[in-house]
């Protein structure tokens, strides 16, 4: 299709990555602007902690959308943007942790270390962040070569665990108020993104069985 070819050409343009980079910094810009102009409402600390957390989930969903979108639409050039999306999920994750550590816990590290295991939802969020750290640390090309493609891919499948831990973190945070409206939107999106992969793996397995039979 002509449209797909055109979009692929745009995605391959040297400016595509810098453009995405700036776009991905836009949420940070809004949060910083809000904090500087005091327009984040009565509780700016809460708005910053929650706002940065929202963007972790959003970037994780965007990262996981790349492969289905690429396969279904034929926009193969999307693949070159995936790493940046994943790294921005990690970036907002670090920001989320730092806002919590600073604005909520006053950078009192002994308090923070005590708080993490005490509250299951904080523990789960911390685990997800540590896993993201492992993926971010092995995100560059040389890491792929050093680990070998197969091992690297196995490691990076941890992204599925990360997004599920992230969802659980958000679920527990809202559980006290029985307020799952917003959570269920993310849950449905993640279910579709992971469901598509399960469906595809199943299809491949049965195709292979047909071949070997």
């Amino acid at each position: 299709m002509a449209a797909v070819a055109t979009i692929n050409r745009w995605l391959l343009h040297p400016a595509a990555k810098p453009a995405l980079f700036l776009l991905a910094l836009w949420p940070l810009g809004l949060l910083v602007w809000g904090a500087a102009t005091n327009t984040l409402g009565a509780n700016p600390a809460e708005a910053l902690i929650r706002g940065s957390g929202d963007w972790v989930l959003r970037f994780l969903c965007l990262t996981l959308l790349v492969t289905p979108l690429r396969v279904i639409s034929g926009l193969s050039a999307l693949a070159r943007l995936r790493r940046m999306l994943g790294l921005f999920a990690f970036f907002y994750g670090v920001l989320h942790f730092l806002t919590y550590a600073w604005l909520d816990m006053g950078l009192d590290w002994s308090d923070i270390v005590a708080d993490i295991p005490k509250r299951p939802f904080v523990l789960v969020g911390t685990l997800a962040l540590l896993l993201m750290l492992a993926l971010a640390a092995t995100s560059f090309n040389r890491a792929i070569r050093t680990l070998g493609a197969a091992r690297w891919q196995r490691l990076h499948r941890a992204v599925y665990a990360i997004v599920l831990l992230g969802l659980l973190h958000f679920f527990w945070m809202r559980a006290g108020k029985n307020d799952f409206g917003e959570w269920s939107i993310y849950a449905v999106i993640v279910a579709m993104l992971l469901g598509w992969r399960l469906w595809r793996a199943q299809k491949r397995r049965s195709a292979r069985r047909l071949l070997t039979a």
Binding site: T39, G41, A42, N43, W102, R119, N178, D179
Partner: protein, 328 residues
């Protein structure tokens, strides 16, 4: 307003108070400046924020300065625009900004409050009669939310005990139950399963009779804004904010401890007493500290939460012999 550290909160002399027309004009001017100086979508966003902060026009409801011990907190009062735009009133939505956005639909006239249960004089009170029942007082209370933030609000009202005395509870009245309005036509979030509506709260009889327990009709010298629980609500300053039920339509005197909305929703997280207590953590967060909204800066350390929210001298005797860790 002046806040000398040794005197605490003091009102200005009337001549120093900026007339409302002038400060609203200033805010309009700022909103216009914001929408003019910034381009595109940002202008609407900034302008909306600025407009949201213009306090809705309120009718004056003055109260004489209360002389009751503990009724004049020396803390700095929270700016009115924060106290009226950051609310937990789930009938109008679970986001803190929802009540200010949605509660304009609440019909506060006519309004009746039913007094039921173990009393000699049950009946239905019109809001006009409740407003006249006792002299209005202004009381400046700290308000500590179970979520870890706090405000300081000048309420207008009178002790709930004034009403209780008149309806003559019988010996069977061990607890008092408070029911919030549940009207699906005017409250957009009643379809949500967040809580089991109507919102029910409760106090032990001696807590309800404590003079600090306030039946409140207004704040900041004005009639109660809808989003803060118009036309009449409860304020119990030594308990977490959710104990202070809003928009009351029924007060019931009962023998058994009431099943309150939050206890029904999450028994392991919210107790019947819910006294502010820095030593008893919520299962998901510590209650040792709090953020005073509008006063503590973004990077300030949170302040220490006080036992019984600083009303220990007045209310601790209600709980002698009670295990506050078990009865959280």
């Amino acid at each position: 307003m002046r806040h000398p550290p040794d005197h605490g909160f003091q009102h200005n002399v009337p001549s120093e108070i900026t007339p409302r027309a002038i400060y609203q004009g200033r805010r309009r001017w700022l909103a216009q400046l914001a929408s003019g100086a910034l381009g595109g979508g940002l202008a609407g966003w900034a302008g909306r924020e600025a407009l949201a902060k213009v306090p809705a026009k309120g009718t004056a409801l003055p109260g004489a300065k209360s002389m009751l011990a503990g009724a004049q907190a020396s803390d700095r009062a929270t700016p009115r625009n924060l106290a009226t735009t950051y609310n937990n009133f789930y009938e109008f939505g679970t986001d803190k900004a929802d009540p200010a956005r949605n509660a304009h639909t609440l019909q506060t006239r006519p309004w009746r409050v039913a007094i039921e249960g173990a009393v000699n004089k049950p009946g239905v009170y019109n809001i006009e009669d409740l407003l006249k029942l006792s002299a209005m007082e202004e009381r400046i209370y700290r308000m500590r939310c179970v979520e870890g933030w706090s405000m300081v609000i000048p309420w207008v009202g009178y002790s709930l005990s004034e009403l209780i005395k008149r309806v003559e509870p019988t010996a069977n009245a061990k607890y008092v139950e408070f029911h919030t309005l549940a009207d699906a036509k005017t409250m957009p979030n009643l379809g949500s399963p967040v809580l089991d509506w109507p919102y029910v709260e409760g106090l032990r009889m001696d807590e309800a009779l404590h003079p600090l327990t306030l039946l409140s009709f207004g704040m900041y010298g004005e009639v109660m804004p809808n989003q803060n629980g118009a036309p009449v609500r409860l304020v119990v300053p030594w308990k977490y904010g959710f104990k202070s039920a809003k928009s009351l339509v029924k007060i019931r005197f009962v023998e058994q401890q009431p099943k309150t909305a939050w206890v029904k929703a999450a028994e392991q997280e919210y107790g019947f007493y819910s006294n502010v207590n820095p030593k008893v953590s919520h299962p998901r967060w510590s209650q040792a500290t709090e953020r005073r909204l509008g006063e503590d800066g973004l990077f300030d350390r949170k302040r220490e939460t006080l036992m019984f929210n600083g009303y220990e001298a007045q209310v601790a005797s209600l709980y002698t012999g009670l295990d506050l860790r078990k009865n959280f």
